[in-house]
């Protein structure tokens, strides 16, 4: 249990039924401002650092050479749910590159978007790589690989695209990565300290104060995420709803296995958290609580309340419990 603290609880009737532990860090320009649990813990950030993985796409000039707009950049940072608005845009993007779904290396995934999923089932079709929640990130990496004149196996750890991703991840987290795990979409996911990831998010949050190319790229990516929250995740999703609840003020990103990051440009702050057990319900609850604590979200906003007082229903639709953040986050 060393290094984890209570982050969220699931109550049922008068009982706390389940508990989620984790760690979190809030960073400012000066460094770590506040932490819960062991913020020095090394984690796999998964999709919560897609905005870092997208930086080389912009700094290399590949994004401009391919005439990518804010919608493309939002999709490059997205874990979308495979709705038609996502898959169509990624398909058009690949088409404009003279590439196709077959050039992706992310693998197929049944969309979490209900309409898209049920349409596939009714048509007795299987999902494609376009439906993979990471297909926008992969389209961005194909764009970069093409621009670099590198080979088609952009997902391999030794490919120039992944070497560039590792280099920028280590630069922004301030330490060499101790290694990687293979992500659900087949890319190397570089490990880093939780507090280092929070500092990287603070670097994004203060990028508008700097003029270097990487900082200007960070501003473009952050603004693209905030301008198109529906492309970063999808209808009903936490990233989309929390960004809509504070338009232009925060960029937030979920990652598998209970990771969440947030960029607060107005305050120059970055947030990173990891739920020990990997539960999304707890990560969603904790990030909402931390953003309310920082004054970036209003606890009375319905989208925020749905995360900080998430109703547990029985199958008759009665409210029989709730998932709430730990008081230490309040």
């Amino acid at each position: 249990m060393t290094g984890w603290v209570l982050m969220a609880e699931a109550a049922r009737g008068p009982f706390v039924e389940s508990q989620h532990f984790g760690a979190a860090a809030i960073a400012g320009p000066e460094g770590i401002r506040e932490a819960w649990g062991d913020a020095g813990r090394v984690i796999l950030p998964r999709s919560a650092i897609k905005m870092i993985q997208a930086l080389p796409l912009v700094t290399s000039g590949a994004a401009d050479a391919a005439r990518l707009g804010p919608e493309h950049l939002a999709l490059a940072c997205a874990s979308h749910q495979g709705a038609e608005m996502h898959t169509r845009r990624v398909a058009d993007w690949l088409d404009a590159l003279g590439l196709s779904e077959a050039d992706l290396r992310c693998g197929p995934q049944m969309p979490s978007d209900r309409a898209a999923r049920e349409a596939l089932i009714r048509a007795k079709e299987t999902p494609t790589q376009l439906h993979n929640n990471c297909s926008g990130k992969h389209a961005g990496m194909l764009t970069l690989a093409r621009h670099l004149g590198a080979g088609p196996e952009y997902h391999l750890p030794g490919h120039p695209v992944q070497i560039a991703c590792r280099e920028v991840f280590e630069a922004l987290t301030g330490a060499p990565s101790p290694g990687y795990g293979i992500d659900g979409c087949a890319l190397p996911n570089f490990a880093g300290r939780l507090d280092g990831i929070a500092r990287a998010m603070a670097w994004f949050a203060t990028a508008h104060e700097r003029e270097d190319a990487r900082s200007r790229a960070a501003v473009r990516l952050t603004e693209a995420m905030m301008a198109h929250p529906e492309l970063v995740a999808g209808e009903g999703r936490t990233c989309t709803e929390l960004m809509r609840a504070a338009p232009g003020a925060i960029a937030v990103k979920t990652g598998a296995e209970g990771v969440f990051t947030a960029i607060l440009p107005e305050q120059g702050l970055g947030v990173a958290l990891k739920i020990a057990d990997g539960a999304a319900r707890a990560a969603d609850c904790a990030i909402a609580a931390l953003l309310v604590r920082l004054g970036a979200l209003d606890a009375k906003d319905p989208a925020v309340r749905r995360r900080m007082e998430a109703a547990v229903l029985n199958r008759r639709g009665d409210e029989v419990g709730a998932i709430r953040p730990a008081t230490a986050l309040g």
Copy 2:
């Protein structure tokens, strides 16, 4: 974190990505034999004690009056996945009582059985209460309510059926229940100490040594579960596959929010565990490890290996990690 210990870990590449904490107890006729974490913790056992909730159905004479067989009793103890083999049997059971799906109070649930789920989606139909994983338990309670001449709202805490369930739960766990939460199927789920629930499972495991009516009912329920593992859960499910891996030797039952129980008649032992965060992947892993520790399952059995070394795949189908039990359970 007080009272929880490491129960399972999810590894990705060289890193432990996520950790699941929990508590467990193994009881024999003499009492608690072994425990991990705080076994005195009060938990909501959810569906892991359905065999206790089914005892009044048998001891009252209602099961015999309604000519219920082992398949009915297995379904009364089941969290089935709404496959045709489950819903058809529950529908026939209600029909024989002169009742129908409308008399159930469990609420509708989309079946976890893929064929049944996709058939509903293709037919553009919504699930019924027969698909609810608890519909067999509810058919049993309707059978008991009818036998007792009690009213139709059998799901309410003050109904004779629920009073009988509370009485037997308190008798077998050895303490008054501090209260209840409303379960996903709308029934009161009485809280109890984890070690008390393990003792109740040991009481089931030794029931064949006793001649009282409640013990004879326990033998019938345990044998029904072991005779029809496919009705207790369904194809591919942990309860079904682990009972098939040790035919006639163990009865195991999962519960929502990371609960698992096991009855070992040959050894006279009972097991109960709770994963703090409620993760089924960890509860499945931990119960398999404890049953291997007790010699009731063979670690080399494929169904056991799938739980004690559960492969984590990426969306290209490559094995990129594994979920494993904590060494303390070995």
